[in-house]
């Protein structure tokens, strides 16, 4: 019994809470945000990492030339206090904020960006987001080793200015700069702890890290938490109302939900699907649901028979009841997709259609000449209950509406990715989240031979239209070209869009100034706590 008593004492060896207040209450008074952040970040090197949890942390630690404006999806001054764009839209000149500082007190210089962008474009680093900068003159050539002289890349530092020359006028260039892969690293620190292209560089260690964001790194316990505190040297520190942030790597959504309900975190970045309805009824002020810049779709391998036939693909799409999927299976306020790019009422809103019409579907199946008694087609998806439910529903729809036999195959995530990349699939489930708020981030994916195309689909007219759009300065004309490309895509259907993602999460009412935007990005310096 004594042993049990001692064991209990060990198990209860922690401090208690104050006056029945929750952790969220106590930390709100201290001005510290507690955020559920999904999985453990793979790192905090902006030129190496690729995930959402990493983005959320980098948003606190680093700052690019411009800052994402959470109110209108535009941009605000960041390290660059101002900028000019040449009439032809090819040259951007960024004037640096003289108060922009690294956490070691040094000024953030234009040359720091030259170093940083040279780093991400260096082939030896193996950066997976280097193509974000391909819009810059000769950047792609340098990254692919075709051009070895970085001086020929359109990036140069002149006095207190950074001058960028683009390949084509790229009206969404400023939006690209809100992506963390374009954010700077401190050159001396990177050189000191491993060198420019060393993937195992130690500069991101707690004791070595030098950043330029509104917060600085304070502690990092793997699989437990990462803490940041206010950076007093940050140029906008006086208007920053948050004193610190603690990021919790909680990948289990049920655990995150329980922690939120017990007052342990301000934000649970996901909600278990089965609980959404209850939250809507019981805690409507804490449940946040808004459109997300992402599309859930089925990817068709157009290299294979009968999927190489556009009529057959139309038959597949016309026989899917998207409303039923959204209302009866997803139940999370998702929107039915009518285009590949998620529409936005305020900006790009293509007038494409994806109807549910079983009669027409049957006709298109006949046009395709496909015999439904052939070997069944396979729908590939990575193991997940959600993907399975949708696949089963679609399997049923295709069976009932077209008499088509379909088998479902679920595989581990990495196996799924490999099979997709190698083209070893008929139809696979897929999803895409835009990197920056412009339709190009979606449509460009379907250009001939793009790595993420994966469908084998190629259309000259589509490629040309998109190329024209990418250098069109007038937003209206550009959107018209995007819409033209979108129509080609929806007519050909190498991808079958199903629904537009919705971000659903839980947010404490103590967090103020939170903006619901399609990129689900809220720079922390604009928030406050009550």
């Amino acid at each position: 019994m004594r042993i049990l008593f001692i064991l209990l004492l060990f198990l209860l060896n922690c401090s208690g809470s104050e006056d029945g207040k929750t952790k969220v209450d106590i930390f709100s008074e201290k001005g510290i945000l507690l955020l559920g952040n999904g999985t453990e970040p793979s790192g905090i090197d902006p030129h190496i990492v690729t995930g959402v949890p990493e983005h959320k942390i980098l948003l606190a630690l680093l700052e690019g030339l411009v800052v994402f404006n959470p109110k209108n999806n535009g941009v605000l001054p960041g390290v660059a206090s101002d900028w000019t764009i040449s009439n032809d839209g090819l040259v951007y000149t960024f004037i640096f904020n003289p108060n922009a500082r690294w956490t070691n007190g040094e000024k953030v210089q234009p040359s720091d960006f030259v170093y940083s962008w040279k780093r991400i474009l260096s082939p030896d680093l193996g950066a997976q987001y280097a193509d974000m900068l391909y819009v810059i003159k000769n950047a792609e050539k340098f990254h692919k080793g075709i051009e070895n002289d970085f001086n020929k890349v359109g990036i140069s530092a002149i006095d207190n200015q950074l001058v960028i020359t683009l390949e084509n006028a790229t009206p969404y260039f400023l939006n690209i700069l809100t992506h963390y892969s374009t954010w700077p690293v401190h050159p001396e620190t990177v050189e000191k702890f491993g060198g420019m292209t060393n993937r195992n560089n130690q500069w991101t260690r707690l004791e070595n890290f030098v950043g330029n964001g509104p917060f600085k790194l304070v502690s990092w316990e793997i699989n437990k938490s990462l803490k940041v505190s206010r950076n007093e040297l940050y140029w906008g520190n006086s208007s920053n109302k948050i004193n610190g942030i603690e990021f919790f790597p909680i990948d289990n959504e049920l655990t995150q939900d329980r922690l939120f309900r017990s007052g342990g975190i301000h934000l649970a970045n996901t909600v278990p699907t089965e609980k959404i309805k209850r939250y809507r009824e019981e805690r409507p002020n804490q449940l946040i649901e808004h459109n997300y810049f992402g599309t859930y779709y089925y990817r068709i391998n157009t290299r294979k028979y009968p999927l190489n036939n556009a009529n057959f693909r139309k038959a597949l799409s016309l026989s899917i009841d998207r409303d039923l999927i959204v209302k009866s299976i997803l139940k999370g306020n998702q929107k039915v997709s009518y285009s590949f790019t998620p529409p936005d009422d305020k900006s790009y809103n293509p007038k494409t259609e994806l109807k549910f019409d079983p009669v027409k579907a049957k006709l298109f199946l006949e046009y395709s000449g496909y015999d439904t008694s052939n070997a069944p087609l396979e729908v590939l998806y990575n193991t997940s209950e959600g993907h399975q439910k949708i696949a089963q529903a679609i399997q049923e729809m295709w069976k009932n509406n077209l008499g088509l036999n379909v088998v479902l195959t679920n595989v581990d995530w990495k196996v799924y990715l490999e099979r997709e990349t190698l083209g070893e699939f008929d139809i696979s489930r897929a999803g895409w989240i835009g990197d920056y708020p412009d339709p190009f981030t979606f449509l460009d994916m379907m250009v001939t031979d793009r790595g993420n195309n994966k469908t084998g689909w190629s259309n000259y007219e589509f490629d040309k239209t998109l190329k024209d759009a990418s250098s069109e300065i007038s937003t209206q004309k550009r959107y018209e070209l995007y819409e033209k490309a979108e129509k080609i895509l929806i007519d050909e259907l190498p991808v079958i869009p199903l629904y537009t993602y919705t971000r659903t999460y839980l947010l404490s009412e103590r967090v103020k100034n939170w903006q619901n935007n399609i990129l689900d990005t809220n720079p922390y310096q604009f928030l406050s706590l009550e």
Binding site: P123, G126, Q202, K414, L417, E418
Partner: protein
């Protein structure tokens, strides 16, 4: 004895070697690679990444290089966490996993011994049937089911215990400990009952009773020593199993132990991390089995005489 221990330690070498080679071959044979991602990297990038992590070399060279580095204590960089070594990541979670396993084994031994003892002293009676039935249930319910049930009851319905973390909130170590320890407590209970019943039926116990010794003295001084031998023998594999199996509990309760790396590494195809954790758990299994054999041979001289450590 020391010579025997030394000989057992020598067997570590071939066992670890076989484990490393088989693991190496298996992870390379598995479909999907460490750099497969939703956002496909260009072939040039994949080539550079393979080069950076020595994956561009023939497999036998890779194994040779790995063994050479491992001998010097370098288990390589993690593929998933650039800038961090496998050793560093393992060491960041190992103390927590060991602590969790320690509490769980103490809980399991205490509960298992007590209920096994009570059952063995009351064979065929209610005090035998009830604990043994419960123990059967304990063996049957895996921790992946038991954990959420305990969370539901104590964390959500009654709100008396925390459901997250390790050492962050009062009492947050209780549910993980019970979840991980219950199955082993059940096994210990059955082993204790079996061992005790066998000993209690032997001649020296009858002699002790004939000499008029009290039942407590007979049980505690004479029977228990031999009766718990099966428990001691099972202790090594049990601790190793607890350590290796802790990943389920660590995931349910979001504990920052090494078990989570073990599973995440497999999903991420983090080759060096898979190898590092496999080596760790193999080493631990061998060590704890050796320790339990040593303890058993101290409790039972016949094992020592017959070379029980062999």
């Amino acid at each position: 004895m020391i010579q025997l221990i030394f000989r057992r330690l020598l067997t570590y070498i071939p066992v670890l070697l076989v484990v490393i080679i088989i693991t190496f071959l298996m992870i390379h044979a598995a479909p999907g690679g460490p750099f497969d991602a939703e956002r496909v990297a260009s072939p040039e990038i994949i080539e550079k990444l393979n080069e950076a992590y020595n994956l561009d070399k023939p497999i036998h060279i890779q194994i040779y290089n790995y063994l050479l580095n491992a001998l010097q204590g370098d288990f390589g960089p993690s593929f998933k966490y650039p800038g961090r070594s496998v050793s560093e990541l393992i060491m960041s979670g190992l103390p927590t996993t060991i602590e969790l396993a320690f509490y769980s084994i103490v809980f399991a031994i205490f509960l298992g011994l007590m209920s096994g003892l009570i059952a063995s002293l009351n064979p065929g009676k209610l005090l035998d049937i009830v604990p043994m039935s419960i123990s059967l249930l304990g063996i049957c319910i895996p921790s992946i089911i038991l954990g959420p049930i305990l969370v539901l009851i104590f964390g959500i319905w009654y709100e008396v215990l925390p459901v997250y973390g390790w050492g962050d909130n009062p009492g947050d170590k209780i549910l993980p400990t019970i979840t991980l320890g219950t199955a082993y407590a059940a096994i210990f209970a059955r082993l204790t009952r079996g061992g005790m019943l066998e000993i209690l039926g032997q001649d020296f116990i009858r002699t002790a009773r004939a000499k008029g010794l009290s039942e407590t003295r007979i049980v505690v001084v004479h029977a228990l020593r031999g009766g718990i031998l099966p428990v001691i023998s099972f202790l090594g594999p049990a601790i190793a199993g607890l350590l290796a199996g802790s990943f389920v509990v660590e995931t349910i309760f979001q504990i920052n132990g090494v078990g989570r790396f073990y599973v995440q590494a497999a999903f991420n195809r983090d080759y060096t991390m898979i190898l590092g954790t496999s080596i760790l758990f193999t080493f631990m299994t061998l060590t704890f089995v050796l320790i339990s054999d040593i303890i058993a041979s101290f409790l039972n001289p016949t094992l020592r005489d017959s070379g029980g450590l062999e």
